[in-house]
Amino acid sequence: MSTPAVPTPPAQADEPVAGPVRLPIAHALNRGLRDALAGDDRVMLIGEDIGRLGGVFRVTDGLQKDFGDLRVVDSPLGEAGIVGSAIGLAMAGYRPVCEIQFDGFVFPAMNQIITQLAKYRHRSEGAVSLPVVIRIPVGGGIGAIEHHSESPEAYFAHTAGLRVVSPSNAHEAYHLLRESIASDDPVIFLEPKRSYWLKGDVDTTVAAPAFDRAQVVHPGDDVTIVAYGALVPAALKAAQQYAEEGVGVEVIDLRSLSPIDDATILESVRRTGRLVVAHEASRTAGLGAEVAARVQDEAFYSLEAPVLRVTGYDTPYPASRLEEDWLPGVDRIVDAVDRSLEH
């Protein structure tokens, strides 16, 4: 290792700016990490190339310089080691935030995540909290390749004991990350990587809804779309198109993929009677299936059409040349909404 820097005294959190600033998601996340590091000296970052280099997506840019290499730790190339050591840090009272460089690289760490991280609290009768955040850039659309474009959320959502959240815009990115770091539970934080440069107004002084709540981001009374991450902007675009035709499409940003905020979804579906769930991940045993099952359990008699899913195909993520054909977008969402309305 290089000589460890003298630990820096916690820097002061940037003065909250009055009113929103316009930032891309990547910078909002950087800001969130910076404020968390400054606000709580138990927060530490750990990951590959995150310190000196600032991360391949530059989300941790400048943080090692300002907080030292004891708090922003460049790890060797080994994801099991990253997550395992985060668990040990958490047990020692720290609040580690891991970066996994790309979605597909979380798999070597799955052992630690599923067999240890998710289970400690339950098996210790609540005595051991593991406030670990695992940040993972997910999804396709940037011309990367298999293992660099995956949507692994269902594996995590299927594992009791993990929280899974995903922001869809810059303001949400900041606040969901802050709340995830403040949470005493392990949080899998999924960053839609093709949206990293999507700009939005971030107001650090105005909190977003609690990180386990879904949020209506476009109101409507005719059809409900539930989406998350990179498909929220697509769903909003579809909703705007329908608005011009006088059709009210309600868009719900799921935000928390586990636990799922049933109440917000059910309230909407009871009003609209129609539901389309959209995600980039493959269809089979995906989040869409889970949402559909919950809605038919609780709101069966409100439904006027079958719940429809807009998803990636049940194949491995294809080579870059084919990704535009593979990825669900506005067209496929509109098609599903049309089919729902035809019933």
Partner: protein, 312 residues
């Protein structure tokens, strides 16, 4: 013959440079990792492999494929998503395979190929073919648990795996020396009881000798070997890498020792005419231009076929 060696290395260099052009011009889409500067390891190691031996490469594997005999035209087509690609465009730059050439695939999960090679060697023990299974990985990969598991597995069962660690000093963008306390990576293998050597990977003769001994050991049932080949990549980690992590002067030094520059100097010092030396480069570039042009004329893979080949 040293001139043949130069031609072999130029074929890989010319392929990589043509790939870079095609990536920047558009016909190749997606992330691409080039191996410029590391050609001697692939050429030297593959020269010692027999047809029955199995090779497992990484995302930096185009040159290894060429050295194993995969036709460049099929590699270009693969990277351009054409039906004529080695895998019909499904694998792409980082994931193609050609078992008919003993090239059992690239891999973009660092370290994932090493345990797989153990299985290939186990098969060779079981069926009596005594095939050698060569797994190539970088210096950074040495820190993956899967690589440690694979080395011990092969050592404990005496399996004919040839572990080739291409030490190009960088684990992606981070210097490997910052990520290990023991810079002699071969000692990981010796600690597990695997005969290990550190060699100058820019010296084809050293690569050949080390590989020959390793393959002989595998074929004789004497178990695994480990080769740490010191090398350098003289391009970015991937196309588009801004390489801001490189210290000043490093690239200039690397350009002097890299294997093509080195062998060219040796040949000229041996009195080989400049004309013959230059012909290697020219010929390699012509071959790659022709291969790429042919691949460019081939039809693109039909997106509808993306749903095929999921189950037997």
């Amino acid at each position: 013959m040293k001139l043949d060696d130069l031609l072999s290395m130029w074929r890989i260099r010319a392929l990589e440079e043509k790939i870079r052009d095609l990536r920047l011009e558009g016909p190749i889409v997606g992330s691409v990792h080039l191996a410029n500067g590391q050609e001697s390891v692939a050429v030297g190691a593959c020269s010692q492999l027999r047809p029955q031996d199995a090779l497992y490469a990484t995302y930096r594997g185009h040159g290894w494929a060429v050295a194993r005999g995969v036709p460049p035209r099929e590699i270009f087509a693969e990277l351009m998503g054409r039906v004529t690609g080695v895998n019909g465009g499904r694998g792409g730059s980082a994931h193609f395979s050609a078992p008919q050439h003993g090239f059992h695939g690239e891999n973009s999960i660092v370290g994932a190929g090493a345990p797989i090679a153990v299985g290939a060697a186990l098969a060779g023990k079981y069926d009596g073919s005594r095939r050698a299974a060569m797994t190539v990985f970088g210096d950074g990969a040495i820190n993956q648990g899967a690589v440690a598991e694979a080395m011990n597995f092969a050592a404990a069962l005496g399996l004919g795996v040839v572990f080739v660690c291409e030490n190009n000093r960088y684990s992606e963008l981070t210097p490997i020396d910052d990520m290990v306390a023991e810079p002699d990576l071969s000692r990981r293998a010796s600690a597990l009881g695997i005969p290990a050597v550190r060699i100058d990977g820019n010296d084809l003769a050293q690569v050949r000798t080390a590989t020959r001994l390793a393959v002989e050991a595998a074929a004789a049932g004497r178990g695994p070997s480990f080769i740490e080949a010191h090398t350098q990549r003289i391009v970015g980690h991937y196309i588009g890498d801004s390489e801001q992590y490189r210290p000043a002067g490093e690239l200039e030094r690397d350009l002097v020792v890299e294997p093509i520059a080195r062998l060219t100097r040796e040949l000229l010092a041996d009195g080989v005419p400049t004309e013959s030396v230059e012909r290697c480069e020219r010929r390699a570039r012509e071959e790659m231009e022709t291969a790429a042009a042919a691949a460019l004329r081939d039809p693109l893979a039909d997106p509808a076929t993306a749903k095929e080949h999921l189950y037997a």
